[in-house]
Amino acid sequence: MSKTQMLKGVLEGCVLQIVAQHETYGYQLVQELRAVGFTDVIGGTIYPILQKLEKKALISGRMKPSPEGPRRKYFSITPDGKAELTAFLQDWQEINNNVKRIFKLGGKE
């Protein structure tokens, strides 16, 4: 399985978590993801995720002036997004623990 495929589902949760921490926009989001280690993340991957999350009303976007001058779209988390994030964290922890357990048993960790 490729890294991109593994990342697909996880990235949505990570984007939601960053947006939950502070209002942000496309470019800034990509930079933050790269800074924590997702160095392969590109703008082209993030825009559809932001669109999808906004469509599902998990985040909401509003145009407001940026420090650089022109107004741009900033995203913030919605109450539904917060609930989704909690669910994602629980699911992630469960998956993470299960994967850890399997690899410990197999002695491959």
Binding site: Y25, G26, Y27, V30, I42, G43, G44, T45, Y47, P48, Q51, K52, K55, M63, S66, E68, P70, R72, K73
Partner: protein
Amino acid sequence: MNKKDTRTEKLRDETNELKKQLEEANAKFFDDLRSYLITSGIFYDEEDVTEQIYNVCLDLIEAQENGQTAEEYFGKDSRKLANSMIKNFKHAGLKEMFNITLIPIGIFWLITFMSDFANSGALKINILEYLLMAGLSVALTCIVFSLVHKSIYLSENNILRKSKIAGFIAGTVFFASFLLLFLSISLWTPDFLTIKIAYPYDTILILALALVSITWIISSKQVYLYPITPFIILIALVGIIQRIPGIVDAIGTDNFKYLSIGATVIGFLANIIWSRIQVNKLSND
């Protein structure tokens, strides 16, 4: 123009201004991406699409300021990535869809109507012909959008990209087929659904339709339709003059024929020249 259209136009203008900050290679990348997204379909929410493009442009500028190329920031496989964005575009509402289809239908109906009222005698409106023209106009708009969309990220090996002659032949065949279809509808649509409108109602209708279409073009700032306005005025004048009793006799039948042909040619030339000026202005912008 409603508030949503105004917002969309403002975003479009701002994007054009912002694009000037992009370096040549990045600007080319952005132009291709923008054209690909815009031509993805006519039934997407125009404001949503324009807003996405505007924000991508801002992000590309920021990436450029930080030493990244557009390709490095957005990704190499722009077509695949853009397709993921298209999948998530908001669809236009029913009212907006209706308005979108109204433009091509309106243009085709106007052309059909103009040819109807340029004919002498009572005005004849073939309803079936107008319905077929409406279908043809929407189909043509969708096909043109789809062709432009598909042509943007054509592979280097594609024959249409490699050979200008192949492109020219394909374009000629396409427009010849369209013209053939248009003429077939005009000439051979059975007239079992035809309405006849006699004088003075035909003259009133021509005048009203010409006024309504020109007022709509100007008031809703349909800039791309401005070049067609001289044509509408001249053909409407010919249609009205020939229906007013006694005028054709006073001018002379032959003279009137020359006048009609002259009006059509002048209208057509004005349309071409004005369109050309508009295209040059857009290219310079």
